[in-house]
Each structure stands twice: as structure tokens, then as C-alpha cells.
């Protein structure tokens, strides 16, 4: 097969050391975005520096620990798990990597076979060129969240998350109306997101470096496809 296949242990070690397989461009982009987001945050001194600067902060720290312990006790007593499902936790999932291969396209070509509670994910490739790249499934606050990932020809990447069960309340941002349905436009750092409901489920479409108008166009198109 390959003449470069090592024949001895020392050759094998050299081979392992010589591998220069680069990380995918999409991963580099996501790391760059994380670092940029970190740089945009206001500088926060380390805990030690804060305690040295303000001895009174020690008392506040103890109080905060006590409060955290109380929350944990209440959480355990209530059988709950954190973090709770919200548009932020769902959009965080859209920035992570896929764990399974892309879902197949459905018979009508407008939807994928992947669905949550009968609500199918859209197939945007024919209309917009965004093809599916993978899917992941997570449990957030005891709720199942399925996320399908899409990428366009320029390497941009977005994630579409649908949470099982009733949609949680969402506030903030601005609301855009399409075909009588409200779409909430939100952002967190460099991440743009559109949050809306389909079949009573919360849907979150989010990505880094993708403008809100594009996300809104895609999100509202999926509703059209579902209605047709």
C-alpha cells in the first residue's frame, strides 16, 4: 500500500513525531472566535489579586460559597440538574462539534429525516447552499436537545437546535415578524442567534460571524417548508 509504512519501532516513533496533520479550518475559526471573545471581555483580575486588594472580598467570597452550597442543596433535593435549558445553553450547543454523521434528506427534499417531536429539520441546500454536516444530541436540564449543523460554500458554519418539550420563556433582543410568527433576534458576544417556536418546541439557529439577516431568512424559510 504505502512505502512509507514504518518497519521498525524507531521508524514508527519517527513517523508519529513527523505527522503534520493540521486541524480543520473550521476548528481554527472557532478557536480564534473564542480568543477574540475572551479579548473583548473586560479584564478580570485573578482571585488572589482581588483578595489581596480587598480583604473585605473574603467575606463576600464566603457568603457566595454559602449561597452556592444552598443552591446545590436545593437542586439536589429537587432532583433537578443544571444548567437549565435556555436559548443561551441551546445556542452554546450550536457552537460545538457534531457527534454523528449528517442526517439524510427526506422524500420531499425540503426536510431532513432528523426530527424532534415530529418537527423536522429543514434541508437548506437546494435553496441556499447550506448543506448539513452532522448532528449531535445532548441533555440540558433533563431535556433532550438535538442540533443539526450546516455549512455553506465559504466555510461558514451554523447550528440549528430543537429542544424537546415545552419551550422556555425567552426575553431580550429584538423581535422580527415573518408570516405572523415572531422570531427573536439575540446575540451573545460574537454569536448571533434567532430563537422561535415550532410545534411548541424552542428552536435556536446560531453561529459565529453569520449575520442576523441570513439566520432570519433561513429560520423563517424552514417554517414555510414545514407549513407547505
Amino acid at each position: 500500500m504505502s512505502e512509507r509504512r514504518p518497519q521498525t519501532e524507531s521508524e514508527l516513533v519517527e513517523h508519529v513525531r513527523a505527522l503534520e496533520e493540521p486541524a480543520p479550518a473550521a476548528l481554527h475559526a472557532r478557536i480564534d472566535a473564542l480568543v477574540a471573545e475572551h479579548a473583548a471581555r473586560p479584564a478580570r483580575p485573578s482571585l488572589g489579586a482581588r483578595l489581596r486588594a480587598r480583604p473585605a472580598a473574603l467575606g463576600a467570597g464566603v457568603a457566595a460559597l454559602a449561597a452556592l452550597a444552598a443552591v446545590l442543596v436545593l437542586s439536589v433535593a429537587g432532583g433537578g440538574s443544571s444548567p437549565a435549558l435556555s436559548w443561551r445553553t441551546a445556542s452554546a450547543l450550536t457552537l460545538r462539534g457534531a457527534t454523528s454523521a449528517a442526517p439524510a434528506v427526506g422524500r420531499d427534499r425540503a426536510q431532513l429525516t432528523a426530527a424532534v417531536g415530529g418537527v423536522a429539520f429543514p434541508n437548506w441546500e437546494p435553496a441556499f447552499g447550506w448543506r448539513t454536516t452532522g448532528v449531535r444530541s445532548d441533555s440540558v436540564g433533563g431535556r433532550q436537545v438535538t442540533t443539526v449543523f450546516y455549512a455553506d460554500g465559504r466555510g461558514q458554519r451554523i447550528g440549528y437546535a430543537i429542544a424537546a418539550g415545552p419551550a422556555p420563556g425567552v426575553s431580550g433582543g429584538t423581535i422580527a415578524w415573518r408570516e405572523g410568527a415572531p422570531y427573536r433576534m439575540l446575540s451573545a458576544g460574537a454569536v448571533q442567534a434567532v430563537v422561535w417556536q415550532r410545534g411548541g418546541h424552542m428552536c435556536v439557529l446560531a453561529g459565529r460571524g453569520v449575520d442576523g439577516a441570513t439566520l432570519l431568512r433561513l429560520a423563517s424559510w424552514s417554517d414555510d417548508a414545514r407549513a407547505s
Partner: protein
């Protein structure tokens, strides 16, 4: 002692990705692991005791890997039906022969016992010195030496081709053995 400079971390993405791939055995999990590691490291100010941040990242990668594995063990498993999951992208990759080789190698490393795997990933994949690897994995340098020795032996044994069977009594070599011989030597016999 100095503060970690987040901007300097981006130069290590490629090496950390290879280390993560060898730890997990799959490209997708490696991407997830590297992103999660950076997100953790950047979540609050970090103070380094040495000059090089690479061994610090190796320790963060290892901790994130263990945490992710524990979390995955508690998470309900979603089973996709065959109807839901399409085959992998059928388009040919740029250099399929090389890609296969890298995947095979890292997948084999990922099958090594955990301690051996971590030592091999730290030294041979990530390129740390024995001292840095010992620091990153919180073990003695002598322990790294021993584990690395055994890891290399095991990896070599697992990747070694099976020895060709002796020729059949009728003097005709069987087809399977012949292919194996070509594969291992890179030339026909």
C-alpha cells in the same frame, strides 16, 4: 510565574488537535475536545509556572478528556436509526492514502492502555520533553520513561503486519499471504 496570554494559544491548535485525535481515536471527538479545552482555559485568568504553555494545555486537554468521558457516561444515549443517518460524505479526500494511514495510527494509539497512551501522546505526538510530560501528567519523569517505552512497544506490536505463513507444502504461496508480504515490505516478492 506569569499570566497566560490567550493570543499565544492559537499557535498550538494543530498540535493539540493531533494529541486530541490520538487520545480519542476520532477526528470529530478531537475537534470537540480541543474546543472544549480552549473554552475551559479561557474561562478565567490562568497563571503559568513555567515559560511554555504547551504542557499546561496538555494537562488541560487531559482533564477535559476525563471530564467529558465521565459526563458522557452519565448522559442518556441517543440511538439513531439507519434511516436517520446518511453515509459519510462520499467525495474523495485530497490524499486518501495518507488520511487512512493517519487515522489508522491515531486509532491504534487510542486503543492503548490509558497511562501508556497519555505518555505517548504527550511526548511523541505533542512533542513535550520527558520533564514537561511528567509535569503535565503529574507523574515522575522515570514513570514517563517506563510508560513511553511500553507504549511504543505495544503500538509497534499492534501495527506490525502478521508474519507471512510458511509456503504451502505444494510450494504455492497462498494469495492472502502474498498480499500481506507486499503490504509489509512495500515491494513484491
Amino acid at each position: 510565574m506569569r499570566n497566560l496570554d490567550p493570543q499565544s494559544l492559537t499557535q498550538h491548535v494543530d498540535r493539540l488537535y493531533r494529541a486530541a485525535w490520538a487520545l480519542c481515536g476520532s477526528r470529530e471527538d478531537a475537534e470537540d475536545l480541543v474546543q472544549e479545552t480552549f473554552a475551559r482555559v479561557l474561562s478565567r485568568p490562568r497563571v503559568l509556572s513555567g515559560d511554555d504553555e504547551l504542557h499546561y494545555l496538555m494537562r488541560a486537554l487531559r482533564n477535559t478528556f476525563f471530564t467529558a468521558r465521565r459526563t458522557a457516561g452519565r448522559r442518556p444515549v441517543t440511538v439513531a436509526t439507519l434511516e436517520d443517518v446518511a453515509a459519510e460524505d462520499p467525495r474523495p479526500m485530497g490524499r486518501p492514502e495518507r488520511a487512512l494511514e493517519v487515522q489508522e495510527l491515531y486509532a491504534t494509539i487510542a486503543e492503548l492502555p490509558e497511562d501508556f497512551r497519555l505518555a505517548l501522546v504527550a511526548v511523541d505526538v505533542l512533542g513535550l520533553s520527558y520533564r514537561e510530560a511528567a509535569h503535565a501528567l503529574r507523574v515522575r519523569e522515570a514513570t514517563i520513561t517506563t510508560r513511553l517505552f511500553r507504549a511504543r512497544k505495544q503500538l509497534s506490536a499492534r501495527l506490525a503486519p502478521e508474519p507471512p505463513a510458511p509456503p504451502a507444502s505444494d510450494g504455492v504461496q497462498r494469495e492472502g499471504n502474498s498480499l500481506r508480504a507486499v503490504f509489509s515490505d512495500g515491494r513484491e516478492r
